[in-house]
Symmetry: C2
Subunit: 158 residues, 2 copies
C-alpha cells in the first residue's frame, strides 16, 4: 500500500503528444509511437493527434486513402496509444499546446516545419515542455505508406 502511494506521488503521469497522418497503418507507425511513449518515462500517457483529411490534402496535395475517422479509430486501437484525437480546425500549434498541456512533444524525422513552430511557441511562452525528435528507423524504407502504395500497384498490375 505504502509503495503504491509513493509511486502515485512521485510518478505523476507525463502527457506525451505525438501527431501524424497514419494512413495505411504499418509497423513503422507503431514503432514511432512506442518511441514517443518512451520519451515520457515509465508512467506516460500518449495522446496522438491524427491529421484531418482536409489538412493532409492542403499540405500534400492529395487526400489520404483512409478517412480521418477510420485513421483515428485505428490509432486508438493500438496498445501503445492512450488517446487519439482528430486535428483541430483553425488552431495553430500553440493553441493545441495550450489545450492539451503536454509535458513532452514528440516529432518525427519528417516534421521539421512543426519543430520550428513548436520551439518558437515554447520559447515565447517560456513553457516547461520537452521536445523530442525521433530519428528515422533503419528499416524505415520497408515501413512507409508510399512504399505500401507502390507495392499495391505493382502487385495488382501484374
Amino acid at each position: 500500500m505504502k509503495l503504491e502511494l509513493g509511486a502515485n506521488i512521485s510518478q505523476k503521469k507525463k502527457i506525451v503528444l505525438a501527431s501524424g497522418v497514419f494512413d495505411l497503418l504499418h509497423y513503422g507507425h507503431v514503432k514511432f509511437l512506442e518511441e514517443a511513449k518512451k520519451a515520457g518515462g515509465e508512467n506516460a500517457e500518449l495522446v496522438v493527434i491524427v491529421a484531418r483529411d482536409a489538412t493532409v490534402e492542403k499540405n500534400k496535395g492529395r487526400a489520404p486513402i483512409m478517412g480521418e475517422l477510420q485513421r483515428a479509430t485505428l490509432v486508438e486501437s493500438l496498445k501503445v496509444v492512450d488517446r487519439a484525437v482528430l486535428g483541430y480546425w483553425n488552431l495553430k500549434v500553440g493553441d493545441v499546446i495550450d489545450r492539451l498541456k503536454p509535458d513532452v512533444i514528440v516529432l518525427g524525422y519528417d516534421q521539421d516545419d512543426m519543430m520550428n513552430e513548436v520551439q518558437n511557441y515554447i520559447r515565447m511562452k517560456n513553457l516547461n515542455v520537452k521536445i523530442v525528435k525521433i530519428g528515422k528507423f533503419g528499416e524505415v524504407a520497408r515501413y512507409s505508406s508510399s512504399k505500401i502504395k507502390q507495392k499495391i500497384i505493382d502487385k495488382l498490375s501484374n
Copy 2:
C-alpha cells in the same frame, strides 16, 4: 481479497482463437477481433493466427501486400489482441486446435471452409470447444482490404 479469489476461481481465462490474413489493417479487422474476444466472456485471452504469405498465395493466388511478419506484429500491437502467432506450416486445423487448446473458435463470415473442418474435428474428438460465427458488419463494404486497394489505385491514377 475474498472477492478476488472468488473471481479467480470462477473466471478461468477462456482462450479464444481467431484467424485471418489482416493485410492492410483497417477498422473492420479490429471490429472483428473485438467481437471475437467478447465471445470468450469477461476474462478472455484472444489468440490470433495470422496466415503465412505462402498460404495466402496458395489460397488466393496472390501474396498479401504486407509480409507475414509485419502483419503479425501489427495485429499483436492491437489492444484487443493478447497474442498473435503466424500460421503453422504443414499443420491441419485439428493439429492447431490440439496445440493451442482454445475454448472458443471464432470464424468470420468468409471462413465457411474452415468452419466445416473445425466442426468435423471437434465432433470426431468430442471436444468441448464453442464455435462462434461472426457475421458481416453493416459497414463491411467500407472496411475491406480490396476496397482499400481500389481506392489507392483510383486516387493514384488521377
